[in-house]
């Protein structure tokens, strides 16, 4: 009887319960423990092992749809890099990305400025903005960064920017930090840049694309991997931060438990129906 009622349950009840399970921990955090995984540690260690003051390439290939997963890890990576006094050259290969990436960079830079630390656009970091062409842009950057991006996001001539004075092509960077929401993203950077120009790279990506990137991590083509909001939260943990990703993980855990319970109940209903027929 109960199983029959479950079978006929209006799906809107499930939406309501899921909504409440997500809303509750955001208002009243449970502070469930977060244990950093090996790929997240590797991501953290790859940046930690960089020489102080080096210039790093960071490609933020996402748009506002991936904000909850990718903006927290972008901010944490920028903080870690700037704490090491690294200079950051940012590119965007998604046409919806330049505005949100620029906002993320400036918000993070403002945190440093509020503490009295000097971070200057064009000197300590630059957002080269969006360039159409996907893989073609990646290959073109191997021939020259400034010729590929003649103007930055704020339409400054890149040949006059102090941060790019000693930057020629990929050989000018010790590491590529790719924050990726899909195509073009980590897969294309591995195929076109890591394997062709041998530039070491790490990736932070949306959870939905993680299974596709794990083989790259296992093969050593990626030095570290952040898997969605969970990866971002683990990375925040490693950096001693408590940001939006950590804040969202209680809700994430409860939602997963609920989805797992729904799958279990759905299978119980299915099995019982089959048993009835037999």
């Amino acid at each position: 009887m109960a199983l029959e009622r479950l079978e006929r349950l209006d799906r809107r009840w499930l939406f309501l319960v899921l909504g409440l399970l997500v809303l509750g921990p955001l208002l009243w955090p449970l502070n469930l423990p977060i244990e950093p995984s090996r790929p997240s540690r590797q991501f953290n260690d790859a940046i930690a092992s960089l020489p102080e003051g080096c210039t790093v390439l960071m490609s933020c290939d996402y748009d506002p749809a991936s904000r909850p997963e990718l903006v927290p890890m972008t901010k944490t990576a920028l903080r870690q890099l700037w704490r090491k006094h690294c200079k950051v050259v940012v590119t965007v290969l998604w046409n919806g990305g330049p505005a949100i990436v620029d906002q993320t960079i400036e918000e993070t830079a403002d945190e440093f400025r509020a503490r009295g630390e000097k971070l200057v656009d064009g000197v300590d970091y630059v957002n080269l903005g969006y360039k159409a062409g996907n893989e073609a842009v990646m290959v073109l950057m191997g021939q020259g960064i400034k010729s590929t991006f003649p103007l930055d996001q704020h339409r400054h001539d890149t040949s006059t920017l102090p941060i790019l004075r000693n930057v020629t092509n990929y050989s000018s960077f010790p590491l590529l930090v790719n924050i990726s929401a899909g195509y073009p993203g980590t897969k294309e950077w591995v195929q076109q840049v890591n394997s062709r120009f041998h530039l070491p790279m790490i990736s932070g990506c949306t959870a939905v694309s993680v299974p596709e990137y794990y083989p790259y991590l296992q093969a050593g083509q990626l030095r570290g991997l952040l898997a969605g909001m969970a990866g971002a939260a683990e990375y925040e943990q490693l950096q001693g931060e408590r940001g939006l990703a950590t804040h969202g993980m209680d809700a994430q855990s409860l939602a997963h438990l609920f989805v797992a319970l729904c799958i279990l109940l759905g299978n119980v209903v299915l099995w019982s129906r089959r048993g009835g027929r037999a």
Partner: protein
């Protein structure tokens, strides 16, 4: 509560979209149509300024302004000056698809695009996936002093071979081959399960992001 008009618009549109979970309604339709229209307009303007103006009109104007040393045809790597007329023309040819009688002209541009990307994709895949992944798959099955790593390597090899055999359709999956493919199915199912779990995480993250916006930016409850 926020006093920012933009935040209010964002919050109300979020609630309009959420209202679809109850049932389809005019508020949802309004938000949906607004999103489609604004997105189309935004991307057209963005692409004009970041692609056409930056990569074509600006450099062409500079090349023919007479101010650059060497003139418009003094071409070097990364500075193509007057030669940018060619990609400009190829780009314009794409629009001939709008006119039936001359739409065949667009094939020149499409042929170039397909050729370039096929070349890039093929070499990228060969270097980044095929060679590197095969290389990474060749690992020792027994690592002295590391039983866990050895077990992992054995499981990996069994999973790899069994999954590959599942996609071998030249013989009926019976007998030893059938047994191996059944093991392959198990490994594939586990990988689909992991993929589903990560997809759920991504989708729930979107919901969390919206709730964080409503609670934080709009209601200022945290």
């Amino acid at each position: 509560m926020s006093h920012d008009f933009g935040v209010w618009v964002g919050a109300l549109l979020t609630l309009f979209i959420f209202s679809f979970l109850y049932k389809d309604n005019p508020l949802y339709k309004f938000a949906e149509h607004l999103f489609v229209g604004v997105s189309a307009g935004y991307y057209i303007v963005l692409n004009y300024w970041t692609v056409i103006d930056t990569n074509l009109i600006g450099p062409l104007a500079a090349a023919f302004s007479g101010k650059l040393p060497g003139g418009p045809w003094h071409v070097q790597q990364g500075d193509y000056r007057g030669l940018l007329v060619i990609p400009g023309l190829l780009g314009a040819l794409l629009f001939t698809r709008l006119f039936r009688r001359i739409d065949w002209l667009s094939r020149f541009s499409l042929a170039l695009i397909i050729g370039v990307y096929a070349g890039l994709k093929t070499t990228g895949f060969a270097q980044g996936d095929l060679v590197a992944q095969v290389q990474a798959s060749l690992q020792p099955l027994w690592i002295p002093g590391h039983p866990g790593a050895s077990l992992n390597a054995i499981l990996f090899t069994i999973g790899l071979l069994a999954s590959l055999l599942f996609f071998f359709y030249s013989r009926e999956h019976r007998g030893a081959l059938g047994g191996a493919t059944r093991i392959g199915v198990w490994f594939l199912m586990i990988s689909f399960g992991a993929g589903y779990g990560y997809t759920v995480m991504s989708r729930v993250s979107l919901l969390i992001g919206r709730f964080q916006y409503l609670l934080g930016d709009w209601l200022r409850l945290r």
